[in-house]
């Protein structure tokens, strides 16, 4: 099945694109996609604890099962509590 990926902010700049499509096996979860992404981009692996995931514009955890045509967004740390 095919998943649409979205990258924002620092992640978008790092990957030099704002979205991708990815073919994943049936039964794939968010974690599956993350593993595929970090295999292609090993430099992203240390970000795992800082990143959040959203499917269909709702926060989910890594165990969330994906459906065909899902939109999976990688959410870097948002603009943050400490600044203002």
């Amino acid at each position: 099945m095919r998943i649409r990926l979205r990258y924002f902010a620092s992640l978008r700049e790092r990957l030099k694109r704002s979205e991708d499509t990815l073919d994943v096996p049936a039964g794939a979860t968010v974690a599956t996609v993350w593993e595929m992404l970090t295999q292609a981009h090993p430099e992203l692996a240390p970000l795992e604890r800082a990143i959040a995931f959203a499917v269909a514009q709702e926060y989910v955890d890594k165990t969330h099962p994906l459906q065909d045509n899902d939109e999976l967004a990688f959410i870097p740390p948002v603009s943050g509590g400490s600044y203002v």
Partner: protein, 159 residues
């Protein structure tokens, strides 16, 4: 008070924030108190001379997450109305990037709800802020804790 949608305004905009839009929305003859918050670009941050900020969001999800916060506020406090607005793109020194207005019968609820709303917004709404400062740029929120791995400072010697 049953229709929460008539009591909530959540907007993301590319234009300068007009506080009057928010305060007029929350005006209510049953409201004795209004608390507002405005977040603005300031000229320094952690010792850096800030030139401007630039905001981007996850369109759709950002509005939805703002709406959830507003619904929480109406559930938790005896609040009449709440308006939340966030600006995207370039925000210069002194300009507002985010504004919240809350009206309620009494002042304590207005203060607490407004403070809660901005704290939550900065925790959960997918909006990102890039600081452009003298000598570089930095995605804010990514430079501490586990998020430190995100840090990406482009040291540009402009001299």
């Amino acid at each position: 008070m049953s229709d929460s949608h008539a009591r909530i305004l959540c907007t993301i905009t590319d234009h300068p924030i007009d506080m009057q839009v928010l305060t007029e929305f929350v005006a209510d003859p049953a409201a004795g108190a209004m608390a507002t918050f405005v977040g603005m670009t300031r000229n320094t941050n952690e010792g850096r001379q800030v030139v401007r900020l630039e905001y981007e969001c996850y369109p759709g999800m950002a509005e939805k997450e703002m709406g959830k916060i507003a619904e929480q506020v109406l559930t938790r406090w005896p609040v009449q109305k709440i308006a939340m607005m966030h600006r995207l793109g370039r925000v210069d020194i002194g300009e507002a990037s985010v504004a919240i207005a809350v009206s309620s019968g009494h002042r304590h609820a207005a203060f607490e709800a407004c403070h809660y709303a901005i704290n939550q917004l900065k925790e959960t709404v997918p909006i990102w802020k890039k600081e452009l400062y003298e000598g570089g740029e930095l995605w804010i929120g990514s430079q501490t804790g586990t998020a430190g791995a995100f840090q990406r400072v482009q040291e540009e010697n402009r001299a």
